[in-house]
Amino acid sequence: MIGSGVIMGQYYPALSPIHSMDPRAKIVIAAIFMIVLFIGNNFWAFLVMGVFAAVTILLSKVPIGLLVKGLRPIVFILVLTMGLHLFLTPGPAIFKIGPLTATWAGLIQGTFIGLRLVILIMFTSLLTLTTSPIELTDGLEDILKPFARLGVPAHELAMMMTIALRFIPTLLEEADRIMKAQMARGADFESGNMVKRAKSLVPLLVPLFVSAFRRADDLAMAMEARGYRGGEGRTRMRELHLAFRDYLAFASTVLLTALVFYVRIRFGPVITGPL
């Protein structure tokens, strides 16, 4: 029924140095990596970053097939961008299709942008694959904490994310049950045109909302009954500590950044003209 076949979350449990890293370190490094990826302006930079990403993937023990599968949703964007670059960049022609002219410059530029996207998705999906949702929200909360003074409700955001993640399976299960109950009353969710189908969702959505609100109410009550009063002065069961491996990871990221800057200056942009 609903939800079967959908992989819940993306976490791939394994024992690896990447899995056991501090989630804060992983988030920060992923962010730096993204910025550095856009600083790199030639294929040498991508070689350096590709090696960095490959080593990280190997260390993480996440099967490469899973990462490739993660690329599936972006195939369309990938093809579209590469196509646009191929045909819309001015320069000496390779071949023509009707009014469209493919150029060498376009080919190079398209490949360049495509490669950048692939490296980006592969590396960042590694973050969610090696970090459980709870760790991820804990890490985010800690990173956002300094911004609390600027009015960013760090703890509340993290708590909201945790609760949302916690209730996804519950709500799916409930949707499944209500759907069956309405089907037992002759409801039909599968046939008819768009309008009819949208209408047929009312008997599913109304009860689902009602119960979601009731759950939210109950949960709020239960949290208060156990003394919850926001993030102020709240301690953690699992405290986050940066370990040697995290510093090592930071060091290699700094090294990576330096290298990318070096090849940027040394070799110059792969494409002259605006990107």
């Binding site: 079967s4 409930e174 049950r177 209500i178 069956k180 109950a181 309405q182 089907m183 037992a184 009353r185 002759g186 409801a187 039909d188 009312v202 008997p203 109304v206 009860p207 009602v210 119960s211």
Partner: protein
């Protein structure tokens, strides 16, 4: 309209890492007009089983025959089957969604494509059947008490005029009066010729109401017989993780103290009669 289950097995999430076997090798036949209780500890497959009766779940293997025809055969309409076999889920009030009680009870009949007069008549019949006061019909379901709402939900299934009605713990979570009313309704429906199938954790209820019990344990049918037959096997009942109705335990304890009472009583009336008879005999001697 008999329901027959042949060597039924159901496995959830087949092929994935968390596949679990909910039912295996279950076979039985329920005849017209029976009042059957399905009992078994939590996780024994009771709810999974009744969801096969109207084709909400497809058997992993085995057959479900309604009116001696396999419901998963080609050309069988699941929608017309669902009209004939009504299913009341646990906490059915969660399925109520319309603005008024009347409209919600009418949801099923409307799906059957009946004329508005027929729908109105169905709503009225269902309302009477579950004993709901007429003035509640135009209220919002969300203003009603738990017991009333439960009856609205049951009426929403009864209004389909099913020949077989399966209920999953219809009295769970209700106050004593709500319980009595809901269970009373079921007896009424049974008297009117419906086949009733009751899933329950309450041994007193099933002993009092049902003519026949199906006992499930870990996805297997471990017993099929009258409440009298099943509850008199005290070691078996304990073994599958259930308990005897209190009157049965009472009779056993009285017997162990030398009282000459029957052990196979299943309800309070019988127990009362037995105890009075025995007391009379003792006074006489």
């Amino acid at each position: 309209m008999p329901i027959e289950v042949k060597d039924l097995a159901h496995i959830y999430s087949t092929g994935s890492t968390h596949q679990s076997r909910a039912l295996s090798g279950v076979s039985f036949r329920i005849e017209d007009g029976e009042f059957v209780g399905i009992i078994g500890p939590t996780g024994s497959g009771k709810s999974t089983l009744i969801q096969h009766f109207n084709g909400l779940l497809k058997p992993t293997s085995g057959q479900v025959l309604v009116d001696d025809r396999d419901i998963w055969q080609k050309g069988m309409s699941l929608r017309s089957l669902r009209q004939k076999v009504g299913l009341v889920f646990q906490y059915p009030e969660q399925q109520v969604f319309e603005e008024t009680v009347r409209e919600d009870i009418a949801f099923g009949p409307k799906n059957l494509g009946l004329s508005s007069e027929d729908v109105a008549k169905r709503v009225e019949d269902a309302r009477k059947m579950v004993g709901l006061p007429a003035d509640l019909l135009d209220r919002s379901p969300f203003e009603l008490s738990g017991g009333q709402l439960r009856r609205v939900a049951i009426a929403g299934v009864v209004s389909m005029k099913p020949k077989v009605l399966a209920l999953d713990e219809p009295a769970a979570g209700l106050d004593p009066r709500g319980r009595d009313e809901v269970l009373e309704n079921m007896t009424k429906m049974h008297r009117m010729g419906m086949t009733v199938c009751l899933v329950s954790h309450n041994m007193e209820d099933v002993a009092r109401l049902c003519q026949r019990l199906l006992v499930l344990s870990e996805g297997k049918l471990v017993a099929d017989g009258t409440p009298r037959e099943i509850f008199s096997r005290s070691s078996f009942v304990a073994e599958v993780g259930l308990r005897q109705p209190e009157v049965v335990s009472l009779m056993e304890r009285l017997r162990s103290r030398g009282w000459n009472v029957r052990a196979d009583v299943v309800n309070i009336q019988e127990a009362y009669a037995e105890i009075i008879r025995e007391l009379g005999r003792r006074q006489g001697s």
